[in-house]
Symmetry: C2
Subunit: 397 residues, 2 copies
């Protein structure tokens, strides 16, 4: 059995690049930027006046004719002569020919003229934020691989971009296997189980922008499975099965995958839940087969599949945080433990992850309201409250 | 000038309920649940066997004929007689007529019979997880007002629900005002500014699911503004303007709103950035007018507008976290300070918010890569590193 780290490494190694597409900046929130963005022009784009006052050419004159007024956003005026000045507002461009700003507090307006305060010596260049002093045209503003949110979209738009090059998010086929699964709308017998993994995983994929993803429910009939999976493998770049990888009928999935030319990359990972997880590929088409237990399926989906799809879209940042375990926890198996938690920041600003273990009866309703799960290393058995642990939020971005 | 808290209170008071709609569970991620959900049936829905072994009726017989095998997911068999047993798998339903489980380790299979280990006394009821012992049918599983993610969708689907009652997310008209704003694709003169607030805010609205939201750019011409805003007020339940509320031409917006029957609820808030913010309503139609400065616009949008829309959709949870300030910060004005930060958890699990102040020149490219902003109370001037502060993430949900 391989470790969680090895499993992730093998997935990363098998991962194709899902390519890029141009997206309107208004629709770019949640997308991964694929081409670095540089500054369209200098910032400030002109010599920017930082005070309300007058603009003049420093020659020594202390009484200057007010030639006009220039507001922020106005094209720059031209200073007529050494003995004139231009009334100027914060944020305006320095008038051409001017080199000095005198703040409004240092002048007196008399008969259409501005008189400098006695003893005040204006200083050329002061109160002027020089063109390009924040950055010059071409300076890198956004790097490829970052996730775009409202501030990044503001930066993109401010550089004159209407579209942005973003990573593609592959549509994914979500396949539930099992005759015992009864979809919503049909009556359910006591020994039957409601189909829930497929809708839950599909909702997360759609919520993470994987438009075109679809759910299919296959019976435990090898003939039907072979036929339907053949079609899905041709249609989708990613298949995500739940159920059919542990025991009994479970063995159908690995066997059928082999028949269909999907090469197994790993089967079984030293983790709980999720030990029977299976992963394979046929060329660039990836197949994740997750255990049917709802907690296992959701945990494996979030621990492996969502981050893989995000990496395939070009994202280069972290996909987990560090939280502080909120209570002692013991886990004796020599496996990595994925423990559902409610995480929230406490009054001091610590991100506290309170264990919300699901019970063994198959009741996973306790997952409602959880934030995600923490990952407890397999080398240890006891985890004291306060231990820093990796937190994977159900919602990745 | 009112405080940040008062401003938010007045917005909450003016907020309509945006109503509900039925949404397919597969599309419910990120939605607010509006009707509580109870358990469809008992959990477990049957007396569930917790060990591999045999099921029998406890009478004292120690050699039992193996009548058949029952797997998880099979309908329960019926025990034929006191001297027979049924081979049973973990997760299967207790066969009818049986009351006792003997684990596989305690039996020996001989000639189609199971013999109990010498001295082993089976205990009726042990290794049986009784029907309804986790919860009974009708037990509340999800409360109205919660945000739905993958685990909640799994719970919804497991209760046989194909659709869910969710809060509506109103479409919003985003209006940029200002002749100096040049949209992407048009050449920009040095003294002009790229239009960026509208696309950034629209991208966030669309990313938060406010489908049907739209952006319009209005010139500083009262006639045109009046006409366009009249139409937008009739079409959209929420208007969100940026620019036109501070000085000079700015005064157009409050004046035109008054003419159009929009009653002012507040104008100016004791905060930086965002002091000139204006808010009004005409019946159930809300108008937020944010300052044109990009940092102000984004901060006010996230501090007030996004949470208001989420509340209007029925959400009852928190919209901010508590982070630990990552560096000393001083802010001398008697205003609430909204300070952009990069927030990440450190190795100990603290959520550290590192100030990323934007400079005064209007260069907001430093916002790229920030997580959101922290809110520093107006009563203080000095905030030491380590101080707990409210963190508002750009992405709210």
């Amino acid at each position: 059995m391989i470790t969680v780290g090895e499993a992730w490494q093998r997935i990363e190694d098998a991962l194709p690049d899902y390519g890029v597409e141009d997206v309107a900046v208004e629709e770019a929130a949640g997308r991964v930027l694929r081409a670095a963005v540089g500054a369209e022009r200098d910032q400030p784009p002109f010599d920017r006046v930082m005070m309300d006052g007058i603009a003049l050419r420093r020659t020594g004159a202390r009484r200057l004719r007010v030639q006009g007024t220039q507001h922020a956003g106005d094209p720059p005026l031209e200073l007529a002569e050494d003995t004139s000045c231009i009334e100027i507002m914060t944020g305006a461009a320095l008038p051409s020919g001017a080199d000095t700003i005198v703040p409004v507090e240092r002048i007196r307006h008399v008969d259409g003229h501005a008189e400098l305060e006695e003893g005040y010596e204006p200083e050329p260049g002061r109160f002027i934020h020089r063109r390009g002093s924040d950055h010059v045209a071409g300076t890198g503003l956004l790097q490829a691989g970052c996730l775009l949110g409202a501030p990044e979209v503001a930066v993109l738009a401010s550089q004159g971009l209407a579209t942005v090059r973003a990573g593609r998010r592959p549509p994914t086929a979500v396949v539930s296997t099992g005759n015992e699964l009864v979809p919503a709308g049909s009556p359910v017998a006591a020994h039957q189980i409601r189909l829930s993994n497929g809708p839950a995983i599909l909702s997360s994929l759609l919520g993470h922008g994987h438009a075109g993803s679809r759910h299919a429910h296959l019976p435990d009939e090898p003939e039907v499975m072979r036929e339907r999976l053949t079609a899905l493998l041709d249609e989708f770049p990613v298949l995500l099965l739940s159920g059919g990888v542990s025991k009994g009928k479970a063995d159908y999935v690995p066997g059928i995958m082999a028949e269909l030319g999907v090469e197994v990359i790993f089967h079984r990972v030293s983790q709980r839940p999720g030990k029977p997880m299976w992963f394979g590929a046929r060329g660039a088409t990836l197949v994740f087969a997750l255990p049917g237990n709802p907690v296992s399926a959701l945990v494996c989906f979030r621990r492996y599949v969502l981050p893989a799809l995000l990496r395939g879209a070009g994202y280069s940042g972290p996909t987990a945080e560090t939280a502080m375990l909120g209570a002692d926890y013991e886990f004796r198996a020599p496996l990595t433990c994925f423990l559902p938690v409610r995480a929230e920041t406490d009054a001091a600003g610590s991100l506290v992850a309170i264990p919300a273990p699901t019970n063994t009866s198959g009741d996973f309703t306790g997952l409602a309201g959880t934030t995600g799960f923490v990952e407890l290393e397999r080398e240890r058995e006891r985890f004291a409250a306060g231990t820093p642990v990796a937190l994977h939020r159900w919602r990745l971005y």
